[in-house]
Symmetry: C2
């Protein structure tokens, strides 16, 4: 009985130690990512966001990458105004462009935290990793609001890395909305 108790305590301790360790590693990775000004794929997404702003769209860009070959599968910026389509967010456009129902071989780079619509679509498409730039406390659905991937009804959760080139991405958005006012 005492042995069982000790084993259980050990297991519980191990469980928390592993969790804690994972968190430390994750925070380390994320902190390092924040320190990186950007990555080549996030740079491409940022260029798409700049192009979107030039078209009068909210400056958000996305790039879909095959992580096995590092090949770019699709790039897009927001086209909500141009297509007169409320669903034409950058993330949705890159996913549609690839014409593959399952994107298990793909990583998505997007300059802003995806909204609940895009987050749910990312889950449906079974994208492996999501790298996003600026956080979106008002409209985001990953770290804010719905927190789509944290729902028990979410059947696929990608690995999420936020804050990549966040300052530049947020700066683009701030500039866009300041000029619009």
């Amino acid at each position: 009985m005492t042995r069982l108790f000790v084993t259980n305590i050990k297991n519980i301790f191990c469980f928390f130690a592993v969790r804690c360790h994972k968190k430390i590693i994750r925070n380390y990775v994320v902190d390092n990512m924040r320190n990186i000004l950007s990555s080549p794929f996030m740079d491409m997404a940022l260029q798409q966001a700049i192009d979107a702003a030039a078209r009068g769209e909210v400056p958000v860009g996305a790039v879909l990458v095959d992580y096995r070959t590092q090949q770019v599968l699709a790039t897009a910026g927001n086209r909500v105004e141009e297509l007169q389509d409320a669903t034409a967010h950058a993330e949705m456009l890159v996913m549609r462009m690839v014409r593959s129902r399952f994107l298990t071989h793909a990583d998505l780079y997007v300059t802003l935290e995806p909204c609940p619509m895009c987050a749910a679509a990312i889950s449906f498409a079974r994208i492996r990793r999501l790298y996003f730039g600026a956080e979106d406390p008002k409209g985001g659905g990953v770290e804010h609001g719905c927190r789509v991937f944290q729902q028990t009804t979410c059947h696929h959760r990608p690995e999420v890395y936020g804050g990549v080139a966040a300052d530049f991405a947020a700066g683009l958005l701030q500039k866009f909305f300041r000029e619009k006012r």
Copy 2:
């Protein structure tokens, strides 16, 4: 002070009375809707769902209606497999077909409770009313899971009427998945 207290109590009582009354009316409407086998627009959505099943798609159909003129703006069934597009749900397709960013003049009829992706898109497009058929406890995002419209970050909430021709819509889905097994 006593007067203020009485007024407050009165206000609180009124508030709950109105809420309760609204709930009774809503339940009455919903119950009556359940009793109606269908409505002309939900019939069209069900036909789209039947057609989708014939194409090997999950049988969900949607119809978008201009509520001012009662004119059908778009009809669609799921085309996820056909288009190899995880976002090609019936609701998304009808919204895209209309080519209007804001659909404040439109009501949406769909045979299944929308998922979080479609619910968020409905909110972005500012659709006035959502009528849906069967509930979806595993994948829904309106009455289950994310409950997109109940989030504080949701900027437009349509009026929602669930359970319209629910038995027929649910029957179609059950038949489809039974035959697939």
